[in-house]
Amino acid sequence: MRRLAAFGRFWWDFVIGDDWLVAVLVVAGIGATAALAAANVAAWWLLPLAVPVVLWLSLRRAIRSA
């Protein structure tokens, strides 16, 4: 059980890292892109635009909690 928990912790740390908000916003962005694409609206611009926004929000959180 301890090994399983350690394995889970390894992947959580590796993928999610220090800020879960990044994962939530990225998944929301991908969902929104898929929804736009399904409605035949050009959607390629959404995720690149989200990059600085997500980074900025996450950086502010990191600095506030430091």
């Binding site: 999610i16 220090d18 800020d19 990225v26 690149p48 990191a62």
Partner: protein, 248 residues
């Protein structure tokens, strides 16, 4: 070689290189403090485990349809990339201490020297487990990088070639100097890896979500430029903010 393939090799090389530098530091600390026999046994055992993981998982990934894989890998890298970039930007703007391989090596060495000597199967157990766990954890990250980058771009061998080149370089320099690669520009490498992961993540996420890029594969260059520009602007903003906050 296409733009995508060049990026694939370069990304796998840089991302794996960072992990190999960290693994080398741990193996060196284990070898110098506890003896090379146990450190090399740990390194060998971890390599065997990694080879089994690669042999089992590699073919399974290639059986997944490419769009589903791009969706999964794109989302994963899109989450991973900004995490790396976030740390790199915090370091570059002075909000976080720079990664210091010398300090990490000194800490690992002191801990290894202070641990009790327990011999199992003819090797020093602490040295063996230290090297084994270090190589296994860093190696798992390399396996993940090679399989995800390679399968989503349609060429695991190219990604493996990038990682192999990094391994040869790091192991070769490590053997020659027998010291942690403190002079390797690890912080700059981590920044570059964050940029690459985010670029690939964005590119594949968009394709995986069913949207089309204007210019097809060449759009990677545009995404790369945008991510680099955004990162440098954020570094400058945070650096200025930090300096203004320091009382004169």
């Amino acid at each position: 070689m296409s733009t995508g393939d060049t990026f694939l090799v370069l990304s796998a090389f840089l991302a794996s290189g960072v992990e190999f530098v960290e693994a080398l530091t741990i193996v060196l600390a284990a070898g110098l403090a506890r003896g090379w026999r146990s450190a090399l046994a740990g390194l060998g055992a971890a390599t065997v485990v990694l080879a089994v993981v690669l042999a089992v998982r590699g073919p399974a990934l290639t059986a997944i349809p490419i769009q589903a894989l791009q969706r999964l890998v794109g989302a994963l890298l899109h989450v991973l990339g900004p995490q790396w970039l976030r740390k790199a930007i915090l370091r570059a703007s002075g909000y976080k201490a720079l990664h210091d391989e010398d300090a990490i090596f000194a800490r690992e060495l002191a801990e290894a020297e202070g641990a009790a000597h327990v011999e199992r199967a003819g090797v020093d157990w602490y040295g063996f487990t230290l090297a084994f766990k270090g190589v296994l954890l860093e190696g798992l990250e390399v396996v993940f990088i090679v399989l995800t980058f390679g399968s989503a771009q349609g060429s695991i061998p190219l990604a493996a070639a990038g990682a192999a080149a990094a391994l040869i370089l790091v192991a070769g320099v490590g053997l020659a100097v027998r010291a942690p690669l403190a002079r390797a520009p690890e912080n700059a490498m981590k920044f570059a890896v964050g940029v690459m992961l985010t670029t690939f993540g964005v590119f594949w996420s968009v394709e995986g979500a069913g949207a089309d890029w204007p210019g097809s594969d060449a759009a990677i260059l545009g995404v790369l430029g945008w991510v680099v520009l955004s990162s440098f602007v954020l570094v400058r903003l945070l650096r200025r903010e930090r300096l203004e906050a320091v009382p004169v």
